[in-house]
Each structure stands twice: as structure tokens, then as C-alpha cells.
Symmetry: D3
Subunit: 245 residues, 6 copies
């Protein structure tokens, strides 16, 4: 819950652009609904996900500055409440216990209604699965009454795993499809902030279109599901608690 009593969400992204491709729609949609959505980028993806910039001969600092600027512009386009850059380096990403406690602090500060992060397996990109491993640990620490006693402890927010590249190789199985049609233009605008990965704009547009097809199928089948033009898919780590099936 936010300082002013509104709902909040927290996205934890290994590299600066991940939150855009994989959860941009969810961010923009919930921002429109009044959620304060915080995004934590653990690195800028400077070494591993900025091939074009390196080919152009940029230095490390230049690459990071450019990636930071792109992430900020994308966050702006999506209506992100706060973008927190941990700047921990990538390929490989490493979090010391001190770094993890910073993340715990952020989780407790945000008190998210739900969290978003990467798939639990990714043999192509070990930073991704490492991030989720860290997030699960930090979620647990944030729940502990004995960690920084006196602070407000965390409840039990769902952790949604956003869509990885090559889903089947990651053992990722979505159980929740979110209609992002109302905010599609924002997601597309945010993607277009990522100038170094132009080839991914259309790729993730198609992902959203395919997921919209799945949304329709699962909301009504051949009887005519609910119309949907763009969607995002997520896998839940924890079960839901409900009052109606």
C-alpha cells in the first residue's frame, strides 16, 4: 500500500529493458487503475544486452548512460511511479547480502499488492533465473518480524513470473492472461524507447497479439470469447485465496 493508501505493485527486472518487453502492459494498466508501480532494475543490461552500442564503440559508462536514459523514458511512457536502478552490473549479475537487504528495504517500502519478476529457469540467461531466486529470498526476509524489527513487515503478495523469451525452453507455463488492449499504445511507445533493440519491437508486438488470441480462447472458446487485441501472460508462484471460484 502506498503512503497515501493506494494500491502498489513492484516489478523486479534483471536488466533495464526487461520490464518493458515482458510487463510493460501490466505496468501501464495498473498505473491507469491508480496503482503506484515501482520498477527495480538490478542492472542496466550494459554488458549483455546492448550489442549494438558496443559495436558502435561506446564505452561502458556511455552504454550505461544510454541504457539508463532509455529505461527512464520507457518508465515515463508507462506511468511508472518510481524507477530504482540498483546498478549492480550484469553478465553475471551478483547481489551481496547488502544488496539484497537494499531490495528487502524497497519491498517493505512499497508493500506491493503483487510482484513481478523472471522465470525460474533460463539456460540462455542465468541472470534471469538468479534474479527470481534472489526475489524469493528477499520476499521471505521482508516477511520476517526479526529483520529490522519495528518496520512494517511484508504480507504475502503474489509473485508473477513474466514471459521469458522462448517460453517452452524455460519451463514457464502461464496461468494468468491480462488484457492490455486499453494501454497498448503506451507499451508500444515504451518499447520504442529501447533504441538498441529495434528488432524486438515487432517481436513483442506479435507476442501481445498471440496472447490476445489465447485470452479470447480461454475466455469463451468457439462460443465467442471476450474480444482482446493485446495481452500479456504470467505464471503465478503461489496459490490464490478466494471467496468465489
Amino acid at each position: 500500500m502506498s503512503a497515501n493508501g493506494g494500491k502498489t505493485a513492484l516489478v523486479i527486472s534483471a536488466h533495464a529493458a526487461d520490464f518493458v518487453w515482458r510487463a510493460g502492459g501490466a505496468i501501464a494498466l495498473h498505473a491507469e487503475k491508480g496503482y503506484e508501480v515501482t520498477v527495480a532494475c538490478l542492472s542496466f543490461g550494459e554488458r549483455g544486452e546492448s550489442a549494438r552500442l558496443w559495436k558502435e564503440g561506446k564505452t561502458l559508462e556511455e552504454v550505461k548512460a544510454i541504457r539508463r536514459a532509455e529505461a527512464e523514458a520507457a518508465a515515463e511512457a508507462l506511468g511508472v511511479h518510481e524507477l530504482v536502478s540498483f546498478d549492480l552490473g550484469d553478465y553475471p549479475l551478483r547481489l551481496s547480502d547488502e544488496d539484497r537487504f537494499r531490495l528487502v528495504d524497497l519491498i517493505r517500502k512499497v508493500q506491493p499488492a503483487f510482484m513481478l519478476s523472471h522465470s525460474q529457469y533460463d539456460p540462455y540467461n542465468t541472470d534471469h533465473m538468479y534474479t527470481t531466486e534472489v526475489v524469493l529470498e528477499c520476499r521471505m526476509v521482508a516477511q520476517a518480524w526479526g529483520h529490522n524489527p519495528g518496520e512494517k513487515v511484508l504480507g504475502a503478495p503474489q509473485l508473477y513470473l513474466f514471459e521469458p523469451h522462448q517460453t517452452e525452453q524455460m519451463g514457464w507455463k502461464p496461468d494468468t492472461f491480462l488484457d492490455i488492449t486499453p494501454v497498448w499504445e503506451k507499451k508500444r511507445a515504451a518499447m520504442e524507447c529501447m533504441q538498441g533493440q529495434v528488432h524486438l519491437w515487432d517481436y513483442y508486438t506479435r507476442v501481445a497479439q498471440q496472447r490476445a488470441n489465447h485470452f479470447k480462447r480461454n475466455s469463451g472458446g468457439q462460443a465467442g470469447g471476450r474480444d482482446c487485441k493485446y495481452a500479456e501472460a504470467f505464471q503465478s508462484v503461489f496459490p490464490r485465496t478466494v471467496d468465489e471460484l
Copy 2:
């Protein structure tokens, strides 16, 4: 959707008592919410789940009559809209294509918002997994425009798998916990209609208490989840389509 425009649900139970132990709370709760809940019992569990009656020397017809009466009383206690007994025999249960089309007819007549049935694997009780195999096939047929053209086709209702005995042996993993505290007395009353399985009354009371603990844990953790005294757990076969995470 029911004839008068209200919501509906359909429970498909291999043997007469399964719907009581495994989904009695969900039935009573949704009945209270105004759903018309239909229960289909494919058999009375006369051969395989009526040990006490056989030990007493009852005949097959007597066993079936007693089981039918118990199921009807339990359905009454739970507020079931209609109890449909297919009377197909058990141990083993078999459905011919004609039997399956009867089930398709029922599914189409009910037009359920959601369906409930057994786990997909059960090496102890093959009738259970067979039932879910049949239910998935019948759900598909009910969706086909070319099956009995002119009838209203089925949409895409969720199929929830209710809790089997010895959950871990069945590979069943719940993703949805339902608070049944408000209707607990009805579930207990329905269970007490099953006079041949007295030893299960307390067993399934404890199941509900354990699931309530899980409900609390998943709704808030150590920060204090929502209070809950009795719950039921379900596994979803299909993904959800949502407008908010």
C-alpha cells in the same frame, strides 16, 4: 447460465459421495451466492466405496438404494440445485459414447460458469482419473458447433480439480484456496449423511482445517493473513483471463 439468467456450476463426481468430501463447501457456498449448482454422480460407488454395507450382507440393489438416498440427503444439505445420477456402475466405471453424449447434454443444459471434477492421476482409484479424462472430452464436444447443431454451444468454463485423497501421490497441486467458513455447518451436515463412511467425517474436517491454515498463510503470511476456519483447495486446468492482477 441458468434458465432464469443466474449463474450455474457443474460438479462431476465418479462416485456418489465424492462431491461431498471434496467439494461440499464450494457447492454450499456458491448455492448461497445464488448459483444453481448441478451435481452429476456417474455411479453410486456401490461396489468400491460401500465396504460397510457389503459386510452387512446387503444386495447390490440395496447398496445402490442406500447410497442414492445418502447422496440425495447430502445434496439437499448443500443446497444442490439438481442431482443427476447416471447410474453407470463403478470399479470400473465405463462410459459408452452414448453415456458421454448424455453428459454433453447435461453440460450444455447447465452452461456452467465453472466445472469441478477429479485429479488427473490416481493410481489408487482409476475411476477418478478416468472421470476427468471423460470430462475433458465432453467439455470439448460441448463446445463444438457441429455437435447437435442448433443447440447453444458451451463457452470455456474453468475445470477445477478437487482435492484427492493422498494429494502428493496424485501429482495434484492446488492453486486456488476457497474460504468455506460461512457454510461449514452445511458441509459437515452433508458429510454426516454418508453413514457408511463415518471414519471420513473427521478426516475431511481436518482437511478443511489444514486448508484454512494455508488460506491464511497465502492471504497474508506472518503479517496476519485473513482469518479462515475452513477451506477447500482446487487445482485449475486452464489459465485465467483477467483485467487486473
Copy 3:
């Protein structure tokens, strides 16, 4: 091996259109390479996959005739050697032992270098998984020296499982990506023969574009994989035997 000593392949499709969406590229590509590709359609998908025709009020025979014509046109466009329509009905599909032996006869006649069929799990469409179950059984029978002794027995062709809809829900994991760029126009043309499922033309075009991205990623990563515009993905059931890794 074909009568004239060339290579052969066999595609087994539950419904008339499946081979087009899921394996049209593989068919056209291997046809261009000189393979004789036989397609077996176990049904026309007349009841379950022809919603538009039923809404237009067509009769069963009309629906089947239209679907048959579409399948033949698509097969023509892809360069299929022979299209064999088993006409067994769908939703649900059923094969008697006699039907299965017809399929065994076909397998033996074709003596395929590889076979293609559906995923092994599909809770949305039980005809699909049933087909693969049947295919595995028939492959085994075709290998038996004691089945119709004197006939040439089958070797050990790979069985590739083609891409299902909503791959992650089916537990399908591709291990083989095939570049179908050279024959893309043929696949698109074949898809456009399916007049009742216009909404799927673009859907499967996007599938091919996404799989092309995966082809590039797996053939070279950020170092610049091989260019590819359209691809199809497959899962192998059996291991490969090789002389070089």
C-alpha cells in the same frame, strides 16, 4: 522409402486443417527436396473445427465436402504426394482396431523416413492427444514381424510432434527448429485455402515469424545467427542416432 526409391514422410492429422497450420512448411520444404510426403487426415474436423460453416446453416455432408475440398487445395499448394482422408468423424475422434490397421497399412506402404503428429497432451482438444496415442501404437504394430507376415516391416522413424495451440498448456517443448523461409509462400497459400478459419492466417504467420527469431537465436545468438524469416518448431519423441555431434 517410396516406390521409386526416394525419401518419404508421413503426416498424421486429427482434423483436416491441422497439417496446414502446424506442418505446412515442413511438408512443402521436404516436397521440394524430393520427398514424397503423404498426409493422413483422420477426420475433416467437421463437427469441431468448422464453426463458421455451421453458423451458416450447412449440413454435415456440406461441411465435410467443403472441408475436404479445402484440405485438397491446401495439400495441392504444399506439394503433398497423397492426401488420405480416413473420414472417421471428430469430437470425439475414435479409431476401431480395424481403423488402426488401415493406418498401419498406410505407414507400411509409405515407409516414412520420419512421421509428424500432435502433442501428447492437450486438455482443450482431446482428439489431438488421442491421435498421437494411436500413432504410437500403430508405429509399434507396423514394426512387428508377426503383423501381416511377409510385408515389409517398418524401421524406426522419428515421430515429430508439431506445434500445438497454446504450447505451454500442452507441455510441449520444441527441440528442433526448421527453416521454412524458402517455402513460405506455399504455406501461406495453403493456409488461405482454409476459408472457414481466416482469423488463423495471421495467427500462424506470426507463429512462423516468432519461430524464425528462435531459429536465429539458437543458430548463433548475439554473434549473429543465421538469417531466417519463417520457421516451424517440432518436438522429437525418440532420440537421434548420429556420427557427429
Copy 4:
């Protein structure tokens, strides 16, 4: 339990030779311990597993007679109490409900302390996985008080799955290694009764030697496990109930 109060076991084999290769050691060992071991062969493997005989031009009846004789000789070598040939045909194997009730009758007659059958998945040989599916159903029926009331119902014998060919492809994972060194000569002798599959004698001798290595490793590691020259491996379907870990 046997008529004279001794322990009993039941092996259910799809084809006549399976019990020899996969469980010959377990059979001979338990026979030596005083168990009455019954073996049920559902078919002779006449069509699918008698390639050499068909190549020699034998007729179906000749093949069956030869296979029966081999199975009987092998059973004799192993000390089998009773060999029951169901003679149901193979490739594919089919059991009607009547056939299944014959198997239930046998299970009840034997009242086995444990049962042995095939792996639950086998894409190479669907008769194998079909057999285990049938065995689980028949075990359930045999436990039902309402099936042939008055007969002694079955308890809850373990079902061990014996070692399939190409274990990893079958998803079979052994949890129990049995030292068969004391009866190795009997197993070898039984294998040598199978004149049509000479190439398998050494294959399964090596299997036994490899499993002996695993037996040693699991009984003591580098500290020096218990010596063992030949072993067989099994996967349990059901959990064990014990008084000591």
C-alpha cells in the same frame, strides 16, 4: 498369502518373455525364500517379439507354441509356482472387461504380498504401458468389497515396475535395488530358454552387472558398499509403511 499360509507374489507380463529379462532374479530369489510366485503372461509376444521365428516362416500357431514352451521352460528354471497364459494376442494387446475380471480373479486368488509389472510410459511399446494401466485398474477392482461379494478382497500390495528397455526414455526411476547374486545362475538359465532372442542374453547380463554396481554404491559409497555381483532394479508406485527408517 498362499493356500498353505506362505507368502506369495504376482508378476504380470505383457509378453511371454518380459518376466524373464526384467524380473527373473526377483522371481527366483523370492521362490528360494519360500514365496509362491505366480506369473501371468497376457500374450506370448507372438506377433511383436518373435522376429526370428517369423523370418523362418513359422505360422502363428507355431510361433505361439514355441513361445509358450520357452516361457514354461524359463518359469521352470526360475522356480515359478504357476505360469498363467492369458493368450490375448499382442501388438496391440487388448483386454475386454471379461479379460480384466479374469485378472482380478487371479489377483484375488494369489493375494500377493507384492506385484510386478511394466513401466507407466513406453512410446516404443504401448503394450507395456497399457498393461500397467490395466493392472492398476484390476488392483482397484480386486480391493472392492462389492466385486463378487463374499470373496476375500485384496489388501494393498506394492506394485513394483520392473526395468524397461531404455529406461530414461520411459521416465522410469528405480527406487529399489535387489541383490540377485544368489540366484544369478537361475536367471541366466531362464534367459537361455528364450532361443529367439539370443542377442538379449548378454544385454541383460550387463544390465544386472550395472545394477550391482549401483547396489554397492547405494549401500555404502566409497566407504565400501556391500558386495553384489548381479542386481535388479524396481520403481515403486505406492509409498511404504514402516516402523523404522
Copy 5:
């Protein structure tokens, strides 16, 4: 094996109370059988599992002292041979290589016939799965002839994984049910030593009652399994080596 030649066992618990809830019955039962059971608590669970004490305003040292005293009292009640407190901190638990070698030393000193620890997956409590990861590594090191050469190396003790909370979420599947009825009063007494977790006393009493039901079911089914009032369940990591099935 203990110094005086008796049998030994080793329980490795992430937090001070885990051994009580999850393996208290196994400990008390084997102690009664003459085993010397050593319990290693890697932390006191001071930060993460002592919510009540923190709410009361206790300091870290006070929390640890109270938790230590509770663990010692519980160990006493169960007949534990030696309780070794590693005092490594929790939420998150961390073991340096030096800490791990202390654990290796303990394993070698105890020379356990079997070991007990946590499930291999736990998204709620990463300390738990981390502990088992460490235990497997330390078991391996303890087996190495080159680690502290001259010491007695470890054999190949089974590692049993005790029951986690919300078993299905952890992917934990029990294969061994232990009847703890004879020592139930001791387990209950030990649980009642944990004053900060009163709500768990009845929870784990119900767990024991449900597992007793499973014990009966697996020891005899409807034929009347062995009576059992309280049980504990375990999953084995390694296969068993036996002389009789």
C-alpha cells in the same frame, strides 16, 4: 554408528523448531529403539520464525535465548542424544565453507545410519531448500577419502526429506510413512515446548492424524490396513538396497 557401537541418526534443521514439527516422532521412535539421534540446528529461527517474541519487544539476544531453551526442552522430551546449535543466523541462512566443514565433521562424527532434512524446493522459505542443498554437498564431502585423510569416511546413508508446510507447493512426495503412535505423547510434549508457535500444536497433530490414515490405507486398503493413530511421512532422495521386495 555410535562410539559404543549402536545405531545413530542425524537430523539437520534450518531453524530451531523444524525438527520438532517435522521429525519429532521419528526422533523419539528411534531413540526408544536405541538409536543415538543427533540434531543439528543451523539457526534458532530467531528472525524469521519468532514473530510473537518480536511483537513483545524482545531483543535479538533474548529471542535467541528463548528459542534455544525451547529447542533444548523439546530435544529433551524427544530423547535426543545431542543437540548441536550452529547459531548461523536465519532469513537468510548462510554457511561459509568453514561452516560447512563443521557440518561435515559432525556427519563424520555421528556416522548416521540415515539423515533427515528439508524438502528440495520451498518458494516460501528459501532457508529450507538451501539447507538441503548444503546437506547434499556436505554428505558428499564426508564421503571423500581426501577430506581430512585418516578420518573415517561416511558410507551412503539415506537422506529423508521431512514434511514441509504446504507439501504440494514444494513438489514434495512422500514414499515412506512411519508409525509414530508409540511415541506420540513425546512428540506432543516436545511441540508444547514451542511456546511462540502455539497455533502449530494442533496443526501438526492433525498432520499426524492424516498421515496415520494414509499409513492405514497403504498398509492394507479396504481390507483393513494396520491400525495407526499418528504417523510421519518422508521422501527418500536415494534408492534402497534390499534382499527382499
Copy 6:
């Protein structure tokens, strides 16, 4: 690709002898085909896999020297291009980030067409699974344009997992069988260089014979697969990209 433009491969072995038992045939075969095969041994297996030497009272330095000499002799026998000993210690094996970057340097230097390493799970030997975890991370870093910019980045070589001991316990499933008959004498000679593990010579000879049987089965079944006397089996981590199925 090698300096002179030929093909290359890289084997990464946790302990000095692993590459011999598990991939000796693949190494010798590809060396004969003109590949430059580099082998990286992360440790000598001095503590954990040299029991005989420790029993003889050797010192750590003596053990390492002997193991190094054996590995070099085996590499020579197999035609290894370069054997790189990282000498990082074993039981447990640990790689600092600096060590990992050395491995990245090696990967980039070799530019392998394919890589070989251990299975992804191994509860008996955590060094094995740790190695593959490290290899996946280093493969990713070697692909990053921002890691040591200016160096040639890695493409997307397949990572094959070679055969572990007790395959089923490791969850390892081979998808590729390699015929090593032409180089069998070299593999046997290399194995005989490992004087401390004489008991494994015949064990791995039998492994090769069993895998040859599987090679034949998968290359042609009962129709007569391709003859093969010795084979090795591998599991692929990544999908293949092909132009023909």
C-alpha cells in the same frame, strides 16, 4: 573455430577423469574427424575421486600429480588438442568470478562448435551439477558484447550433457546417441590410464555396449538398425536448427 579455421569442441569436466568415462569416445571420434578438442578439468578430483591413492597414504600433492599424469596420458590417447587444468580443488569445487572469467576466456579462445559437460542434477555429486551451472553462466558471459569488448564473442554452441553415473537418479534423458565404434580402442586405452579406478574400466565398457544396443534400436528397430558395437549418449540443453527433419 580453431586458429587454422578448423572445427573445435570444448569439454568441461569437474574432475580429471570425468571426460574419459563420459565423453572419451566423442573426443576421440571428433579428433579423428579433424576437430581440435580442448578439455578443461576444473579439478583433479584429488580429494573425492582418488580413494585408492589416499588409502595408500599418498599426500595431497602426490595425489594431484598422479591424477594429472593420468589425465594427460588419457588426453594423449584420445587425441585431445589441449588439456587445461584449472586446479581449483574438489569436494567441494568452487569457482570465484575470476575463475569463471578464465573459463570464459577459454570458451572464447576455443570458439567451440559444441560443448560437453555434466548433468544438471546430481544428488550424489554436487560438484557435477555445480559445474554445469557455471558452464551455463560462462557460456552467457562469453556471448556478451560488453564483456571484454573487442574480443570475438561466442555464437550459440550446443551444450551436450554427458552420461552421469546412475542416469535415472539424475533426471538425465539422452536424446543423442553417437556411434563410437571406430574409436573404441582409443577410449578403452584412455580409460586404462586411470589406474586408481580399475573397477570402472569394465563398467564403462558395458555402458558403451548398452548404448550401442540403443543406437541400433533407434536407428532401425526390429527391421534391423545400423550395426554399432560401442556408443555414447548425450542430452542436449538447447534446440537444434535444421534445414531438413
